[in-house]
Amino acid sequence: MINNAYLPLSLTLIIALPLVASALVLLIPTRWKSIKGLVSFTVALVTLLISILIYRNNFSFSFPWIGFGLDISLRLYPFSAFIVTAAQGFAVLVSLFSIKFMEGREHEGQFYSYLLITLGLTSGAVLADNLLLLLFFWEGLLLVLFGMIAVGGKEAFRSATKAFIINGVTDLCMMSGILLAGYLAHTFIISKMNLPATGLGALAFVLIMIGAISKSGSMPFHTWIPDAALAAPLPFMAFVPGAIEKLIGIYFLTRITLDIFKLSAGSTLSVLLMWIGGLTLLFAVMMALIQKNYKRLLSYHAISQVGYMILGVGTAVPIGIIGGLFHMINNAIYKSGLFLTAGSVEKQTGTTSLEELGGLGRKMPITFICFLITALSISGVWPFNGFFSKEYIYDAAIGKGLIFYVMAALGSFFTAASFLKLGHAAFLGKLQERNQKIKESSVSMLIPMIVLAAFCIFFGLYNSVAVKIFEPIVQASYTGKETHFIFNISPMLAAITGIILALAVLNHLLGVKLGKDGLHASDHIRNAPIISWIYTKAEKRWFDPYEIAMKLLKVFSAILLWIDRRVNWISDVFMVKVSYSIGSAIRRVHLANYPVYLIWGILGFAAVTLFLIH
């Protein structure tokens, strides 16, 4: 719609506008009630419109910024355009939601400005065609991550630091990976890079992959998300871990697997990816099952859904990749939807721990309905979007190896079970007296939930539309010619998913009967023989790589300090003692009676004469 002249301007506008607006938001005095929320909402809306307008074009441009390969080059092509628009869409919804939610909380201005900075940097990272520029925007997010979590409250800075350190460390790995890749390919322009995934290339791939999966929050680097869930303000959880991080992380993962390294289907790296995806999937959802807090449960689910996407992309098969990408956008939609429901519950009841919730369905019907839709779509029930993307992933996974399919299936079983438990504990069951007076949350919070629920349904029914969006991406790297993939859901797989869901319902009913109410529905799994040991250890953070790394680091730096003290000992103690002992030896030899001096003199004289004469 916009001719090419305006395209460079619009691209820079998408990145620059939110950044400038964020500075503006900080300046607005706190007295004017919710102006900040409105400003961020409008800015997000404007960038959304711009990106929708320029959606169709396939365009890239660059101008030099610094030498040595770091120049600003942005590229708009279907995949990056889609991600940018999706990100802006979520930004609009979350800012709308948080106008009401963040009202009256201190540091509100800071929250909105960080939100806008995140939006700007994400669109910058996605549009960047130069790896270094991507790195620049990517690590910029670190700064904002810390800010947004720390805004949450007094003690929020601990989990903010944890998040910052984990992301900082993995970003540094990614930086060295990028530099290695740039060195091997002699250029940092992504579109021009293609490297063999062997030897140094493999090392580069692994390093970059660490950065990508840690940003998307998968297994080894996930531990900051559950802590942040309690500490950080809820819109942050809905926006960043819920949507944005998944978008960028998986976008970048696909770019390196498809464009830069062109992973072959059976290669070790893709198997590695699939294993990471599978394990994340399984462990995270098992942890989610036993959670007693609405937000922590959702945050663990966010981690497990990433497992699906990584599994999908890891298969390096067209259907798998498209399944993964489709699952990415679906998950973004229903995950942020679920978080928003949690937000409205928290807004009304003031708490998100399941013990104090119950029977809210009658009091907050719309929230309950949106929760129902998003919960069903996340557990992969037929008409909703979760089902189709999971089917594609199952189809690709079963092709690669039964173990992956079994893990995926188990994962969806537990997902369904945990959401049944959550729904039962929060919305059904007996209404607690403290929640008597609550009523439905305000309109401005409900609209985003409803929109997201609608999207779940839309993408469920017209899933072929989504496939058409992702097709050109896969085509460009795989077959190179215009072939249309026709995917049809294999009836056998669909039947198995149906059985799994039924089993989940049965398990839930069994749990309710044993545990007497929705909250303890999962206790029978919790204290099963071996699993309970693992669970108790997990709760005590044994498996948290961050804690292990910190303990190791303490020991390592103690050794280093010892080395430093030894070097100091040499210069402080050893040198001083030696020189003083020699000095006092000379002083002692210096007796007071002169005959000794005389003897020295004569001996000296004898030595000199002997030397001179011979």
Partner: protein, 164 residues
């Protein structure tokens, strides 16, 4: 040649005796003895003028001065003298040993003075050498004498004042 060596040994013994004797009086006498032996050596080396000066000043004047002042002082008791002797023995026992060692070393060197002794072409008279060729010696001698006298005056003259 043997005579020279005998006289030299005599000189060394006299010096040692002077240093090691118990009473001050005897060491003053020892000083006179040493200068006497020295004058003999000088005569043998055919430098009469130096020998005469040595005899009159070192053998004569200085020992007389020493003996007169020492005799004025209050003589030490036998027992104190013995202590002094032992103390001195303990401090200087190695002096003779040292002299012997250095003597042995020097003899080992077997310095063969194969130089031809350049006889002084004209036995210049001491007087004109002092006055014409090297007047600086005169000034030097005068300053030395004056400095020595002045030093003694400064250090010891007013010490009497302090006593009473």
């Amino acid at each position: 040649m043997i005579l020279n060596i005998f006289i030299l040994i005599l000189l060394v013994i006299a010096a040692l005796w002077m240093v090691m004797t118990r009473s001050l009086l005897r060491s003053a006498i020892g000083l006179a003895l040493v200068s006497l032996v020295l004058t003999i050596i000088m005569f043998r080396l055919s430098s009469p003028l130096a020998a005469v000066f040595e005899l009159s000043v070192c053998a004569g004047l200085i020992p007389v001065l020493f003996i007169s002042t020492i005799s004025l002082t209050y003589p030490l008791s036998k027992q104190e003298m013995m202590e002094h002797f032992k103390a001195r023995l303990r401090r200087f026992w190695y002096l003779p040993v040292l002299v012997v060692i250095v003597g042995v070393i020097l003899s080992l060197l077997k310095i063969k003075p194969d130089i031809t002794l350049p006889l002084p072409e004209s036995a210049k008279d001491v007087r004109d050498v002092l006055w014409n060729l090297r007047p600086i010696y005169l000034i030097g001698q005068i300053i030395v004498l004056l400095a020595g006298a002045f030093g003694v005056v400064i250090l010891f003259k007013d010490s009497k004042k302090d006593e009473h």
